[in-house]
Symmetry: C2
Subunit: 304 residues, 2 copies
């Protein structure tokens, strides 16, 4: 039995979701605050819901994709909605923080519905493709029952945990790693250009150096996972060795008048670890310092 | 005609360099402050120089690899050295900043010798391997004349420019990109674990997401190189879209009491760009903000 779906929000992403579902033969209702945005979808066979209530009432699965949680709250958190939600599967695909996802789960569940939170790791034009990843957390029942429908939106769909905030947290964690590398590239390019190097040269060496960087990245994750912070035979470079090279970056920024906001933040963290006696420890020994702003009190695994 | 080489410094890296040269049949002199460290090399056929002066005098090519430039200065910048340097090729492999390399080049050249500065992108055990990268800048003549010898130390040897500081700058630039990604991973892991996710889950999704991150990285370099900062059809995500997701990181750090030094530095740069009206511009439009701490005055390419 095919589910009836309602997609609330027909912006670029919501429309792409609705089109993909229609294409796979799902009976699809759509609603959008500006009704005109539903017209192209209606032309493809979507049924246009006259109101949010009507859309929810007609569907087993309610997919929400609007600008942000404030917009989502404006749709859902008002009279008349709570009573039609009972028994529905609510799939929140609006981008938000882990906290917002957790709060939304409590609200939805309090109204007798089940809640699945999703993070879309792609732009709208990638919805429906085999390589597109969507991360889900919250109700495992909803995920299992509607897996064919959810997988229609992206072949790389996966369930990451029962806590509603976990999809958003994993999304944020992956983007954070990406932003680190991108901001690092921006900083590195500024250093290279300040010394008269062109960015073609930077790029070709960045490619050549990539296997080393990737190996260091996955080694860092493995060591942090295993809490193997002390330096050992497999340590690629000790914290002291990293910091010795890192000081050249600080000097280059100062000498060339480059923005040093990022290097200064890194320097603060490096120096905090070194002040804890971690010179000979692995780079991964920085990990505990990220959990909170103050140094760990119990002296986690260190050579000292 | 094979060159006579002198390697000053027989620590882990210097010894690995000397061993590799001996292995390739180069007539190799070695010197180290603690002479005992030369003994294993002597057993392999190295000639031990009784003094730095003697080592330099015996060689055409002088390779220096000591702890830092201060240690290098202590060897070279004293009476009796200047007079034996004339006509030699000095290859400085001690790790240092671009400024130190530039100053060293001036000093060496003032004593009638030619100067090549090198950055070793590897740990000692990788010296001599086909994939090992060494970056060189400074005297092109020295590089061309001694290319077989230099390439013996690593198959990925390349010459990056005539300014002595350029090898160090490129080394620093590449490491900066790496540190960005590593610090980003540490921050991301803290966010994931704060929400109860295990790092195996993080790692598997990090692998799956890698192609997206790599594409964004090289796109950023290409756009920065071309100064294509305005948003266009090929823009992967606008600065506004990035920042909208980025705020979830700030919120997660605040809610979970995570170290926010890195996110705060990134936030400052994001907000500076947004205050310049770059919401719809490409992520690459952050690049000019890294060149100096203050906003550009001439309003580089922007949609605004």
């Amino acid at each position: 039995m095919t589910s009836n779906v309602c997609v609330l929000g027909a912006g670029r992403m919501g429309s792409s979701i609705a089109r993909t579902l229609l294409d796979r033969g799902y009976s699809t209702w759509v609603w959008n605050r500006t009704a005109a945005k539903c017209e192209p979808l209606a032309a493809l066979g979507a049924k246009v819901a006259p109101s949010v209530e009507d859309g929810i009432r007609a569907a087993d699965v309610v997919i929400i994709n609007v600008l942000d949680y404030a917009a989502s709250d404006a749709l859902l958190k008002r009279d008349g909605i709570g009573s039609v939600l009972a028994g529905k599967a609510v799939v929140q695909l609006t981008s938000g923080s882990p906290r917002l996802a957790r709060e939304e789960a409590r609200w939805v569940e309090a109204h007798g519905a089940r809640y699945l939170d999703g993070a879309i790791m792609a732009t709208p034009n990638f919805i429906g493709k085999s390589e597109t990843a969507l991360l889900y957390s919250g109700s495992r029942d909803v995920y299992e029952k509607h897996k064919p429908l959810l997988s229609a939106l992206g072949g790389g769909t996966s369930y990451v945990g029962e806590l509603a905030g976990q999809a958003s947290a994993l999304d944020t964690a992956l983007l954070t790693q990406m932003w680190g590398g991108l901001f690092g590239a921006l900083q590195g390019m500024a250093v290279a250009e300040a010394e008269g190097l062109d960015l073609e040269t930077f790029k070709s060496h960045l490619s050549a150096f990539k296997p080393v960087v990737d190996a260091a990245l996955f080694d860092l994750v493995d060591r942090t996972n295993a809490r193997r912070f002390a330096g050992d035979d497999a340590t690629l470079a000790s914290l002291g060795a990293h910091y010795s090279a890192f000081r050249h970056l600080l000097e280059a920024c100062e000498e060339r008048g480059l923005n040093a906001a990022m290097p200064r933040a890194m320097d603060m963290i490096f120096r905090q670890a070194l002040s804890l006696g971690r010179m000979e420890d692995d780079f991964a020994s920085l990990a505990p310092l990220f959990r909170n702003g103050s140094p760990p009190q119990n002296g986690e695994a260190t050579n000292a």
